[in-house]
């Protein structure tokens, strides 16, 4: 394959991944890695290096839009980032030690989880709770707009949420993904933060988490500019278009179709990892 063909093919795949990732809320990383490894035979370490970079691009690029909506909570995000960044450093170190086959299998398993969670597509809890003692001391509670009025909400189970976030960060550093799905579970289910606050705060956190593993990825040679360039430009363009279209799209059917595609990719990655073809 010539450099021009490769760059073009990667850009198109990344654009699609970014577009679908934004529409379904799953993020571009979970699609771009299997697309590069399965369709173009790119080594998974280059793929996750490029994916990590694109994760930062979409998170930072969308930040202003999310802030405007007034849902994200900068205190919750910053506090939990202590856990995600520490986890991310551990994950990035592990990524250098774990072999290619094992990475493919772990990635496949995480994809299956993402597909199932997306298929279940729950609205999450929107019943605000009162903060417990620790959350009060950390002043994590705040308010967010519901039908034009400010609704106050509290936060619970901070230690458990913190632990979950460490795991989310480790997955992000190990696989070069945003692991937004796990972050949302930690905030929405464990810490009982309203769903909309959880998803937007998670987006805000993803970039900082990814930046924590980026330095380690760079020094290990995971970030190859010839692969990362079309991935970053493609995912960013796709995600920006996806965010524009999102308002008008029928997301429910799309999510279901997308979950099945991800499930198929997951199985192929696991099989390739086991048979040693990847």
């Amino acid at each position: 394959m010539t450099a021009l063909d490769f760059t073009g093919a990667v850009w198109i795949l990344s654009f699609l991944a970014g577009f679908l990732g934004a529409l379904t809320g799953l993020g571009g990383g979970v699609v771009v890695v299997p697309a590069l490894t399965l369709a173009l035979g790119v080594n998974i370490k280059y793929a996750i290096g490029a994916s990590l970079v694109s994760v930062i691009a979409t998170s930072s690029g969308a930040a202003a839009a999310y802030v405007r909506e007034g849902y994200s909570n900068i205190r919750i995000g910053m506090f939990l980032e202590i856990a995600t960044t520490l986890g991310a450093i551990l994950g990035a170190f592990l990524a250098g030690r774990v072999g290619t086959h094992a990475l493919a299998i772990i990635f496949g398993l995480v994809l299956i989880q993402a597909a199932i969670q997306s298929f279940m597509a729950n609205k999450g809890n929107d019943q605000p709770v009162a903060s417990d003692a620790l959350a009060n001391r950390l002043r994590l509670g705040s308010s967010y707009p519901v039908d034009g009025e400010l609704q106050e909400y509290g936060v619970r189970n901070v230690p458990a949420g913190f632990g979950f976030m460490f795991g989310a960060g480790a997955l992000s550093g190990l696989l070069g993904i945003g692991s937004g799905a796990v972050k949302v579970i930690a905030m929405d289910r464990v810490m009982r933060i309203p769903f909309k606050v959880s998803t937007t705060t998670s987006n805000f956190m993803i970039g900082v988490t990814a930046a924590a593993s980026a330095g380690i990825y760079l020094s290990r040679g995971f970030i190859d500019p010839r692969v990362a360039m079309p991935v970053m430009l493609g995912v960013l363009a796709g995600a920006l278009l996806g965010a524009k279209v999102l308002v008008h799209a029928q997301v429910r059917t799309l999510r279901a179709v997308f979950s099945i595609v991800i499930l198929a990719l997951a199985i192929e990655m696991i099989v390739n990892g086991i048979t040693g073809r990847m």
Binding site: A3, V42, S60, A64, S72, V208, S213, S219, G221
Partner: protein
């Protein structure tokens, strides 16, 4: 900026919101600058070596030590090759700009919380900043 009385349980909403808005804008500018740099380096790369054969099946970290090869694995090496207008160095420099955007966000949040006289969250932001610095120092 209003200084909240010590008894308020809720954080002063407007100050946090303003802080987040400023940070959000800055992040967008950072991403655009990064994308422009990566695009410029990418065009240069394709003009110079569009018909070269590429293959990424095996993981072979870029060779730093070989003479003539740009050093793309360390911060200083990337900056040096970008200044020489090496195409891959430019792309990598653009990617470094991108990696710097969330770091800048944390640093700005620390400043913002300090201005709000919020000692707890100034410290929290600084802890996150130290962790990020640890990872980046790894790349020098």
């Amino acid at each position: 900026m209003n200084i909240p009385p010590m008894q308020t349980r809720m954080p002063p909403r407007m100050n946090d919101r303003r802080l987040e808005t400023i940070i959000g804008r800055l992040l967008q500018i950072g991403v655009l600058a990064s994308a422009a740099t990566v695009l410029a380096g990418g065009i240069l790369y394709l003009v110079q070596s569009h018909s070269g054969h590429v293959e990424y099946r095996n993981f072979v970290p870029l060779d730093n030590s070989a003479p003539g090869n740009p050093d793309l694995l360390t911060l200083s090496g990337v900056v040096r090759s970008a200044i020489r207008f090496d195409s891959l160095g430019l792309i990598q420099f653009g990617l470094l700009l991108l990696i710097a955007t969330p770091v800048a966000r944390v640093a700005l949040a620390a400043v913002g919380f300090a201005l709000e006289r919020d000692r707890l969250y100034t410290v929290v932001s600084l802890i996150v900043l130290v962790i990020l610095a640890f990872s980046l120092i790894h790349a020098t």
